[in-house]
Subunit: 118 residues, 2 copies
Amino acid sequence: MTPDRLSATFSALADPTRRAILARLTLGEASVNELAEPFDMSLPAVSKHLKVLERAGLIARGRAAQWRPCTLQAGPLKDIADWVEQYRRFWEQSFDRLDDYLKELQGKGKKHGPKKQP
Amino acid sequence: MTPDRLSATFSALADPTRRAILARLTLGEASVNELAEPFDMSLPAVSKHLKVLERAGLIARGRAAQWRPCTLQAGPLKDIADWVEQYRRFWEQSFDRLDDYLKELQGKGKKHGPKKQP
DNA sequence: GCTATATTTAACCACATAGTTATTTAACTT
DNA sequence: AAGTTAAATAACTATGTGGTTAAATATAGC
């Protein structure tokens, strides 16, 4: 089965090495050797990570002599942002509940705090 | 190695079945059977997906008689939102460039369109 | 054409993932 | 106690992932 784009993007982001590569690319394009330099890992391993990022549409690769400079392509990240945005009210709601709880702890003197079902 | 929380979250979200389960849980808590119903998949398979979601902190499981109602826990999704937000300027920049390009195509008569650095 | 540099590909290994069916555990019902 | 329902676990299979080392490819420079 060909995995959907969103799955491919989440999957690509589920690895700290790949996220670090993306972070590096926010500073500008870089060669494979430059990208590999910070990692205690062979070059082919990094090359594989780049292939995953490329297939997810998160990087593009140019050609300049024997170098293949990589550049960040943030399009799929917008998809992630849009997807997760659907859930915003749920985590804000959680914080609201925590907030309510803390307020209740502080205001012990008050009756009972708000109830959901009276 | 114990994978970091962000990796675990991205990894959990990289599967369309699990994302569908989370979507279902936005409507309220549900039993394992209820969650499994839409999928052409055995119950143990769904049970495994739930375990992945639970270990990523994306759901919590209660107890009510022989049912284990699942509820959405959106906390880790905020981490995703915060992480991806770092990259917003990059996808907006891409759209800006596309926008500039379209404007340039339309306004052929005008001098050169607005420059970033004057 | 030869050699050095940059990168990819091939072949392999260990382990994780996503699914299956069969069995087991837990709690309710009668 | 026996049976039913809900869910998890066990045991297994197939495939994917992340890493390795060694070999192949592509380009630049002499």
